[in-house]
């Protein structure tokens, strides 16, 4: 009311954001618009990518995503490496959660060479444990990161500290900090160390405390609500049109979760229900992620309770140095922290893969969705929108 009385908020139908559509043609030679670049050298873009904006004042008229700054040509390099040689290379395709790629490579090779059922039960439980830990460390960066986009840096500091604790557990389990080549074809590389569960439980208790704090810091914060509510809304009918998956889809009420739809490993033995929200704006998405943080902690507890204490960690596999896989193709998918990830894997009977192709959720989120979502938005919100869509460049360009 007071806004209208004082007249500081412009009339809705005068706002340019109401009139712009993704296919408005921009005439740069008329002196109305300005072209600015966000990135690649910009603290406000997620990773090493660039967004080319055509702005009028503070309003974005046109947005173009530029990727390829992290292109390494994995899919070409894999074609000239043995299966075992390609393994350490290909897991570096996604920096945020490398374990997903390990699972893809291991699972596809097992499936195509007929060892799908040979993997021991204990190894599968360990795979689930490492995958859920990877999701947890991703969420510990992602959930407070949404506040960080609004300069709420304190939560990020707490979250990254706890993520370091999880990375310590990873180091215990796998020996590596970020790129742990743990899920190998035929099983896993090591058993659970003594006392791992107790130390993990300590960290999980810290994280429970952190979850409450971040709730008070972010979701009960008036300024955060002011900025995040009603920003970058994804409507349910956009889900299939744009191929939106994961938390972005669940944030707008569409329950898509590979763990429920096509259960892999032993996810059908755990009881959990993917959280959803209805609004589909930035607030709803980060709220869904916050609930998923709780759920992931709970899942890790369930896994550690249900998994057998010991067992075989690896099936008997052929000699990897001359391991030939018959001609075939498959598609393996799982639910990563950002949504459905998958890999299309083709073999041609030789000792090298014929073709692999990673399907990252950001491939749609960062290009098709982001470009249409930024139109009419405020320059100040670009970072928030990118983080809320969980754009991750390495999996776009591989």
């Amino acid at each position: 009311m007071i806004n209208k009385f004082l007249g500081f908020k412009p009339d809705e139908k005068l706002l340019p954001s109401q009139t712009v559509t993704p296919d408005t043609d921009i005439d740069l030679s008329s002196h109305k618009y300005q072209k600015i670049w966000l990135g690649p050298n910009h603290p406000g873009v997620t990773g090493n990518m660039a967004v080319e904006l055509t702005v009028q004042g503070n309003t974005i008229m046109k947005a173009k995503t530029h990727v390829g700054y992290l292109h390494r040509g994995f899919e070409k390099l894999i074609e000239r490496r043995l299966f075992v040689q390609g393994f350490p290379t290909s897991i570096r395709m996604c920096v945020a959660e490398p374990d997903t790629n390990e699972y893809f490579i291991a699972r596809s090779t097992e499936e195509l060479s007929g060892y799908a059922d040979a993997v021991p039960e204990y190894a599968n439980w360990l795979r689930m444990l490492s995958l859920e830990m990877a999701r947890l460390q991703g969420l510990l960066r992602g959930v407070p990161g949404q506040g960080g986009t609004f300069a709420l840096g304190i939560g990020v500091q707490w979250g990254v500290y706890l993520r370091d604790l999880i990375l310590d557990r990873f180091e215990e389990l796998t020996g590596a900090r970020v790129y742990h080549m743990y899920i190998i074809p035929g099983g896993v590389r090591g058993a659970l160390p003594d006392g791992f569960k107790e130390r993990m439980e300590d960290n999980l208790r810290d994280i429970d405390d952190f979850i409450i704090r971040i709730k008070k810091l972010m979701f009960h914060n008036s300024v955060f609500k002011t900025r995040a509510k009603g920003l970058a809304i994804i409507t349910p009918d956009m889900i299939d049109k744009y191929g939106i998956v994961g938390t972005n889809a669940r944030g707008s009420g569409v329950k898509r979760d590979v763990r429920k739809d096509n259960p892999y490993l032993y996810y059908d033995q755990l009881d959990f229900d993917p959280p959803t929200a209805t609004d589909g704006d930035v607030y709803a998405r980060s709220w869904v992620r916050w609930q998923e943080l709780i759920q992931t902690v709970d899942l890790i507890r369930q896994i550690m309770a249900k998994m057998p204490d010991t067992g075989d960690i690896r099936a008997k596999m052929p000699n990897v140095l001359n391991w030939k896989i018959p001609k075939g193709e498959t598609y393996v998918r799982l639910e990563s922290g950002r949504g459905e990830m998958g890999m299309y894997y083709v073999t041609d009977g030789s000792d090298k893969p014929r073709r692999i192709n990673l399907r990252g959720p950001s491939y749609n989120h960062a290009i098709a969705v982001l470009e249409d979502m930024l139109v009419g938005a405020d320059v100040a919100d670009v970072h928030a929108i990118m983080v809320s869509l969980q754009t991750c460049p390495p999996e776009i360009e591989r």
Binding site: F8, K9, G148, L152, Q157, V223, R227, V379, A380
Partner: protein, 305 residues
């Protein structure tokens, strides 16, 4: 006392203020680091940064106005210092009353704006689109801050029937019950809220929002220019705090009191900034025109009759 002694005193006071500003900035960053659980920067860091910036070899200028920007900002800070009684002791021409005179309140309000205008010139010639956007946001928000501040100051001027900061401080001596904070609570509330914007911390630091517009007006500045701006920033932070201290919190009768009070005033904005995200520009302007402006108007209305 003779003008030379006064000049010497003024220069000494400026040095004290500069160093105290740097120390205060480092302390605030340390407090923020401790809230995050970090150790934080060493206390000497600001001085070393200043040295390093001065010792930069490459210095690029984009023209005269680009060069004048930091100078204007420094002049704004020094002007704030020159025409304000810093420490209230020793009568009207005491050692630390500097060149305070009748009606300096108006001049101070002008000098508050001065640095921002200089930055606008410099950023404009710097030619970086983000500096232009930053300074546009800065000027808009500064105008929004100035309005409630001016309302409150007018109310205080009506209350004490003077435009001299020295007189205002003098009238508040003799116990905290005489402070404007208690004698004119509405104006005090308006000033305390407007302080958040004037001291430029989150949620009102959109001017230099790193993840949107790099660091705004200072995007193109480097080396000695940046050193200038750092020292100017240190002085301005202290002097803004001193201004609010003089207006609301009864001034200071000694350097110790000044240091304590200015620290607390500055800490108030840091304290708020730690736990609140950043407003968008139109949101912050709307906020300033909602709460503090209404309070300032109330203060005036009360003291008109």
């Amino acid at each position: 006392m003779s003008i030379y002694v006064k000049l010497a005193y003024t220069f000494l006071g400026l040095m004290i203020v500069l160093n105290w500003g740097m120390l205060m900035g480092a302390t605030m960053r340390k407090i923020g680091a401790r809230m995050a659980g970090r150790h934080g920067i060493p206390f000497r860091q600001p001085w070393i940064n200043l040295l390093k910036n001065i010792s930069t070899r490459t210095i690029i200028t984009h023209g005269v106005m680009y060069y004048m920007g930091p100078v204007f900002r420094l002049v704004g800070g020094v002007g704030l210092f020159l025409f304000m009684p810093v420490v209230f002791s020793g009568g009207v021409d005491g050692p630390w009353t500097n060149f305070s005179f009748q009606g300096d309140l108006v001049l101070i309000l002008y000098f508050q704006m001065f640095g921002m205008l200089g930055m606008a010139l410099g950023a404009g010639q710097g030619g970086h689109p983000y500096s232009a956007m930053g300074i546009a946001r800065g000027l808009a928000q500064h105008a929004a801050v100035e309005l409630p501040l001016t309302m409150a100051i007018i109310s205080i001027a009506i209350q004490f029937d003077t435009l001299s900061i020295y007189k205002i401080v003098e009238a508040q001596q003799g116990g905290f019950q005489n402070w404007v904070l208690f004698t004119n609570p509405f104006a005090a509330a308006a000033i305390i809220l407007a302080m958040l914007g004037a001291l430029g911390h989150s949620p009102f630091n959109l001017v230099k929002a790193p993840n949107e517009i790099l660091i705004g007006p200072a995007t193109e500045y480097e080396g000695t220019y940046l050193g200038f701006m750092q020292s100017a920033g240190a002085i301005i932070h202290v002097m803004e705090a001193v201004l609010f201290m003089n207006l609301v919190f009864g001034g200071a009768t000694s350097w110790i009191e000044l240091i304590v009070k200015s620290f607390l005033i500055y800490f108030w904005s840091v304290f708020v900034g730690m736990v609140f995200p950043r407003f968008k520009i139109e949101q912050s302007i709307t906020w300033f025109f909602k709460v503090p402006l209404v309070l300032g108007l109330l203060a005036i209305i009360i003291y008109m009759f």
